[in-house]
Symmetry: C2
Amino acid sequence: MRISELSEHSGIPVASIKFYIREGMLPRGTATSATRADYGDEHLARLRVIQALSDVRALPLARVKEILSLIDAPDETPYATLGRAVSALPPYADETNTDRARETIERLGLTYDERFAAVGQLEAAIRGIEAAGLTWDAETAARYAGPLLRVAAAELLPLAELSESEQVSYAVLGTAMYEPAILALRRLAHQHLLATRATDDDM
Amino acid sequence: MRISELSEHSGIPVASIKFYIREGMLPRGTATSATRADYGDEHLARLRVIQALSDVRALPLARVKEILSLIDAPDETPYATLGRAVSALPPYADETNTDRARETIERLGLTYDERFAAVGQLEAAIRGIEAAGLTWDAETAARYAGPLLRVAAAELLPLAELSESEQVSYAVLGTAMYEPAILALRRLAHQHLLATRATDDDM
């Protein structure tokens, strides 16, 4: 398809598409004449990814580029790639002392790897919870870890059926894009439980 | 304690404390002379809440005020208060058509209430997931909803032991402050599962 059709199908203005090409975020189309290029479904798919990360997740351009480059040139293992991809997603924790996170991770029997950005993110989260006067002890951590391990295991199931490059794209995008749904569902679950309990009380 | 001691205990500068008092976010201390006031533990606790919301969750001042006013003057039921509190937390979704969220909520057997901000948040999340080329169908939704209902139920358990005003404070702060821990734990669970699977493959 032509660039005008690519714009129509994606809903992204031609000027933005040209910008993404200049920035190396979107591959050039196949030249069909001196002034025309042909674009395929892979361009449309890539534009969707850019839009999802920059519009829906509101990530700055530099972070979107970082994630795209991981999708294009993954590290040796999905483990390493996912680790780096997570560093490109908010929150950008900058904790040097991660003792509390380490304690939680080890007590839960999870793998502790200080290079992994989520360790610092957990440390910052724990400090925030306690700063607000809320509890973070073994029981509280277990309340979250059990169900979230089940979520994570179910999310990784489809990986086996994907090619290696698809795995990385799925892991990176999945981490970024399912998070808002998880938070919304937890809030809806609270609301549902309060609503049904309130009804029980009325009867 | 004096304002200087309150500052020392909370780590918040005296000027900021005075600012919060002027803005009505922190109650005045009890005047002990024309120029001195006495502050108690309730002031320290309130400062912790302000700090957690504004620093850790990086909420703008107007949103912090909104949440504090909900804690101080809750709606008739915890259900209504929590609903309003969630509107003060990001993401600030502005969806008018919430058909996809409604479909998901009803299929999961949860309570659908269009006044509740998490409905629009779920709608935005679903659109983002699909815009990125990922799947949101009945099976995917169930993958998250089951474990998150368990999380939510466990989180609400301590509510029964709290007074009504404590309930609101706990529900509002809990919604805001445990979210980063949930996201970090999910990311750590992925990393753990990939790490242990990688090890399995090596053997």
